[in-house]
């Protein structure tokens, strides 16, 4: 019991526990039903992970410093378009260009919000629409084919049965982020900034630099995820090749991040993404229509939004008081 409480007391471990329970449930459901259960299932989960993961990681880092980057969906699409347009001759150059655009675009937003003391939601709303607009103009409002099927094959080729280059890159990004957040001074400063800005400033944390850096990282991660997905599908679309906005937010919140800042570690977010990807693959394998997945994601997100609500506890205790008042109106509790 004590072990269990210790295990579940940590947000990251809690999400991993959820992931294992979900995996077990999936296996238990799939085996008797004779559904396909092999390395390909795990591979498909990890392929989803490699698209959603970096985007969610970037968003999660901004939530760790108590901001919120809603431009990620725009940067995800723009990154893919830049990579395909530049990378026609040299794929490495395309990735580099996408990363540069992500870094500059993200950091610029960070500069705007720190210099002008603007809320991150406001600035990144402008960023979301602007990045999307740039992607439309660059591609001329068309899907752009890359026409490099060899590259697409190599991006998606299985490594060790379940991994691919894409998912290995995604995992590497998560590990780097986990090390930075968990074991470096920058990481501690990030958590401090998210927990209490004013105290951090007093303690000598360069909070503005932290915020600019985090938004630069968020832009980079989204653009890179978009670029890798575009390469693996050998095409780019200004509207984005995959609708990441809702699942990314859900994964981050599931992974233990909170809008009140200071919480949500990279590995927790990784687990949150895994849960969502497993859910998607699981529901598809079981054969339910796609809208069920959308409803489930929305319900999870809504539940967590309510759970994170500032007044939730007050409202719950209110109900309690109301009930006891009703039941024993003139009783001793009527203070």
């Amino acid at each position: 019991m004590k072990f269990l409480r210790q295990l579940l007391g940590n947000a990251t471990q809690r999400v991993f526990a959820l992931f294992f329970i979900l995996s077990a449930a999936f296996v238990a459901l799939a085996l008797p039903a004779g559904l396909p259960l092999n390395w390909e299932t795990a591979f498909s989960v990890l392929q989803n992970f490699s698209t959603l993961g970096p985007v969610a990681l970037g968003l999660g880092l901004t939530m760790l410093v108590r901001e919120f980057d809603i431009s990620f969906a725009g940067m995800f699409g723009l990154g893919g378009c830049v990579a395909v347009l530049v990378g026609a001759t040299s794929p490495a150059l395309g990735i580099a260009a996408a990363v540069a655009v992500g870094l500059l675009g993200g950091a610029a937003q960070g500069v705007f919000m720190t210099r002008l003391r603007l809320s991150s939601v406001a600035v990144t709303l402008g960023g979301l629409l602007t990045f999307g607009g740039i992607a439309y103009v660059l591609t001329g409002n068309r899907n752009v084919p890359l026409g490099n099927l060899e590259l697409a094959m190599s991006m998606n080729a299985p490594i060790l049965e379940v991994f691919s280059i894409r998912s290995l890159v995604a995992w590497a990004l998560f590990i780097v982020a986990a090390v930075v957040v968990g074991y470096t001074r920058t990481g501690r400063d990030m958590i401090a900034t998210g927990s209490d800005v004013q105290a951090s400033v007093l303690a000598g944390v360069r909070t503005e630099a932290i915020i600019i850096g985090v938004f630069g990282a968020s832009g980079t991660l989204s653009a890179l995820a978009g670029a890798m997905l575009s390469y693996s599908l050998s095409t780019a679309s200004p509207a984005g090749l995959s609708d990441v906005s809702v699942p990314a937010v859900a994964a981050v919140i599931l992974g233990g991040a909170s809008l009140s800042g200071g919480t949500g570690r990279p590995l927790g977010i990784a687990a949150g993404v895994l849960v969502l990807c497993l859910l998607r693959t699981g529901l598809t394998t079981v054969g339910v229509p796609p809208y069920v997945h959308e409803l489930v994601t929305g319900a999870i997100l809504l539940a967590f939004a309510i759970g994170d609500g500032a007044d939730l506890m007050r409202r719950l205790t209110d109900v309690e008081r109301f009930r006891s008042f009703r039941l024993r109106a003139p009783g001793p509790r009527s203070s």
């Binding site: 600035v123 439309y136 959308e294 929305g298 609500g309």
Partner: protein, 324 residues
């Protein structure tokens, strides 16, 4: 609003003099200059004043405009924006088209009712639990899309013949949509300026804690704000169903972004508590005029997207620049 807070304690401490300068410096001259430039550009754009382009201006502007009136209340109440108003518009169009077989009145009434309920439910969650409005509206977006896909199987729902055609009528040469938009602006502005509810919205938006301390049942105000936003989004949905004689979720796509663009360009503060419905009216007119101008000057649709993005970014940065 947890995430829309101002960074640093000094930000709010502007003296009366600087506030005066800010008011003179921001409001009138910038808006006047902007509108004058726009007017000149419009007049020198060949074909802008011709009937077809003015009609298209009214048609694009009105639909965005109705949603923008609703969005204005959400922004004013300190809840930034809703990502689900476009989806609400789409749902209203679907309901309207689906029920048009029972006659126009039941179809319109049900469409509006569904839009109000969908939006008010979010308002209740945001107001009662003080849940984050951005997350709640994103969750609602997923739920609405899922439910709509379940109900329609992702198919376009066509309206019964001729039932909704009266929505395309013109009164005195002006499309009905334009009149509905104008009426929405007037009603919205009256609600904002002359009702107790309007005052409470501004109170809740400018300082939630003070509003709670003053005894305002803030969750009721927030729920009503979202119900109102749902009502205006529902109106837009009905007009869309009338125009296309059909309803699908795709019709509502992007309306939330265009609407917030109109709200911000009009000069309503994204942090809440400052702004008005009539400002949003001008914001929508600006956006719709520029869209039509870009079309007339031969720019493709993609430049409209870029332009809307840049103008929203500029509006946000200008707000910060003037406050800092």
């Amino acid at each position: 609003m947890e995430i829309a807070r101002e960074r640093g304690a000094g930000a709010a401490a502007t003296g009366p003099r600087s506030e005066w300068i800010v008011r003179i410096g921001t409001g009138f001259p910038i808006r006047f200059a902007g509108l004058s430039i726009l007017l000149v550009l419009a007049v020198i754009t060949p074909g802008f004043t011709a009937a077809p382009s003015l009609l298209s201006l009214i048609n694009t502007g009105s639909l965005i405009g109705c949603v923008a009136v609703g969005m204005t209340f959400i922004t004013l109440s300190g809840n930034i924006m809703s990502f689900s108003l476009g989806a609400t518009t789409g749902v209203a169009a679907i309901v309207c088209a689906a029920l048009s077989g029972f006659g126009a009145v039941p179809a319109l009434a049900s469409a509006i009712a569904v839009a109000i309920v969908v939006s008010a439910a979010q308002g209740f969650i945001i107001g009662y639990f003080r849940a984050n409005p951005i997350i709640v509206s994103i969750a609602a977006l997923a739920l609405i899309h899922g439910a709509a896909e379940f109900a329609t199987g992702s198919k376009t729902i066509y309206a019964a013949e001729n039932v909704l055609d009266f929505l395309k009528a013109k009164v005195g040469g002006i499309p009905l949509a334009g009149l509905v938009f104008l009426a929405s602006v007037v009603v919205g502005q009256v609600i904002q300026s002359y009702t107790q509810f309007g005052q409470r919205v501004m109170m809740v938006g400018s300082n939630l804690r003070a509003a709670i301390a003053a005894g305002v049942q803030t969750w009721r105000t927030v729920t009503a704000v979202y119900a109102l936003a749902g009502l205006f989004a529902g109106l837009a949905g009905i007009l869309i169903a009338g125009r296309y004689g059909a309803g699908t979720m795709e019709y509502g796509e992007g309306y939330d972004y265009s609407a917030i663009a109109g709200v911000l360009v009009g000069g309503t503060a994204i942090a809440g508590g400052e702004g008005s419905v009539s400002r949003s009216f001008f914001g929508v007119v600006v956006i719709a005029s520029v869209t039509v101008m870009l079309l007339l000057r031969g720019f493709e649709t993609e430049y409209q997207y870029l332009f809307i993005g840049l103008i929203v970014l500029a509006a946000v940065l200008l707000q910060g620049r003037l406050r800092a």
